[in-house]
Amino acid sequence: MTQALPFQPSAPLAESLRREMNPALLLGALAGLLLVLIAASLLIGRRSGEAASLMTLFDTDPQTAWLILSEVRLPRTALTVLVGATLGLSGAVLQGLLRNPLAEPALLGASSSAALGAVIMFYFGISGTLAIALPLGGMAGTFLATALLFVLGGRAQDTLTLILAGVAINSLTAALTSLALNFAPNPYAALEIIFWILGSFADRSMEHVWLALPPTLIGWAFLLSAGRALDALTLGEDIAATLGFDIPAVKRRAIIGAAFAIGAAVSVTGVISFVGLVVPHLLRPLVGYRPGRLLAASMFGGAALMTAADIGVRMVDTGLELKVGVVTALIGAPFFLHLLMVLRRARA
């Protein structure tokens, strides 16, 4: 009956980061941080020192400076905010809904299936003639994967079933993506797909932003509407139902919301994993572990982390472009392992 929980502080980290904050103060702080990061993202280019040069460029050649700002930096920054907020929010919703801190869009196959949907559109050349096909393919992929996930592991709350369901969906989408690569008309097409899946915000235009924005906003609305129900679900599905929540409807709304938002995000940026895992986990103590309050905080937190990560990959001077999706996976996977071990210790 008593279930040990995995969120007891595992190591004596900064105690203040584990204590509940005033909600308005927390959101204000996160929004402030995000604004600073947005400003930095708009000013900082691929090589360090460009921030200063963009400022001087405004004096010498304002037209070029504006062009860089509006055509290069603005779409890139807008996408980091949209995608980061989507990942943070959908991670928080999935974790609340499944009452499992390990739920995460990429781990559960929602992101890879969106990528598959987009790859199919890409592959058959549909996206070439119809730009909207890419996000539509992504949304369809996420929708199918998330629905399948709830069928496979939604009722059972144990972590194992859930992770296994995610593994199954991820393997299936990986196999189908490999199939597409296998029959790619030429190596360059295959390479293009692979690089796109890695996840990056580089070289995106405002067209991408306008393509992703409407479905993202629709998805957010669906996901945010789950807040109260997620609070009630703290007590389990039966009690939540007697508290007046239509749980199947809540699940449907979450699946639709995740499909819209993640499908749109992945179809313009590729797969970026672990942001949806890390952000809700770090912010949860600050909202007093309330699943509903976690949603808005995770949106801001996700957007801030994503923007910071993208600034980071621009500042690191590597010969080839470092994909931000690679970086989040490099940092996120060990974090996931750590979380898994903490959880096991707590259950032992």
């Binding site: 009956m1 008593t2 279930q3 040990a4 929980l5 969120f7 007891q8 009452r99 709350q157 509407s225 109260r228 609070d231 009630a232 679900l233 703290t234 007590l235 389990g236 039966d238 009690i239 139902a241 007697t242 508290l243 007046g244 929540f245 239509d246 949860r284 007093g288 572990y289 309330r290 699943p291």
Partner: protein
């Protein structure tokens, strides 16, 4: 917030429920009224929990109906029904380390609109519920750090914070120490006396006899007996339904049922 009208009757007509193709409840006719504490007893697997879930609107009848104030539960608007029914399941698992006060606060959700914050009135009900369940001193503790019995009391606080007019509690005393068992049952009895319909599943037959004014004895998915404790807790009924030989005595005017021996007279259902 104005108190909602007390219900007059919760009843079932030829209620049958199947789970996974197996009939779990068959042909239950029961009329539950306010004023008295109603105990639901019976051996494991007799269908007590399923009946309670059906009364809460959680288990869908295969046939028959469940009505609150002569209106089928399925016809009640979800939000209106939620204000009436307080359901306490056996499974007290709480999935995040929220404070006890916040857990109790979740009981107020039926009274809040989508984006509405808890009002001073809600806070008052939460404070009252914490007091009634004797968890005031634990209010700011994360519920997951409490002992099993304390968690069970936090769950009761959540139940009471919602001011349900119909209380359906599945083993509310499970895991509690003896003194708290008595306190919880006294509380349930007083809630019933205030005009609520209160049904509690109990395994301790002595406690059931002492605190309940009416007992429903279930066996094999059917209602085997329905009446005052003295009428229901007979040697014959206990042998037939539980396969139990008991010593039945009186103490201070109350029935004491001491489980003493078992028989395998009735074939136990698996």
């Amino acid at each position: 917030m104005t108190a909602i009208a007390q219900p007059r009757i919760l009843d079932t007509r030829s209620l049958s429920v199947s789970l996974g193709g197996r009939s779990v409840l068959s042909d239950i006719d029961v009329r539950l009224t306010p004023g008295t504490l109603i105990g639901l007893i019976g051996p494991n697997g007799a269908g007590k929990t399923t009946l309670l879930r059906a009364l809460a609107g959680l288990a869908r009848p295969a046939s028959g109906e469940v009505k609150l104030d002569n209106r089928d539960l399925t016809e009640w608007p979800r939000a209106a029904l939620a204000k009436h029914i307080g359901y306490l399941p056996q499974d007290r698992a709480i999935h995040w380390p929220l404070s006890v006060r916040r857990i109790a606060g979740l009981g107020r959700l039926p009274h809040l609109d989508m984006w509405q914050r808890a009002s001073a009135d809600d806070e008052r009900h939460i404070a009252r519920a914490l007091h009634q369940a004797d968890v005031e001193h634990l209010a700011e503790r994360p519920v997951t750090s409490l002992s099993g019995g304390e968690q069970a009391r936090a769950a009761i606080a959540r139940l009471l914070a919602g001011e349900p007019t119909v209380i359906l509690a599945d083993e509310p005393t499970a895991g509690l120490d003896p003194a708290h068992k008595l306190r919880v049952l006294e509380l349930m009895r007083s809630l019933a006396a205030e005009g609520r319909i209160v049904v509690v599943v109990l395994h301790d037959l002595t406690l059931a006899a002492r605190y309940c004014d009416r007992l429903l004895l279930m066996a094999d998915g059917r209602l085997a007996a329905d009446g005052a404790p003295g009428q229901v807790l007979t040697h014959a009924a206990l042998a037939a339904s539980f396969g139990l030989g008991a010593k039945i005595t009186h103490e201070d005017g109350a029935l004491v049922v001491l489980p003493w021996s078992w028989t395998d007279k009735p074939v136990p259902r698996l």
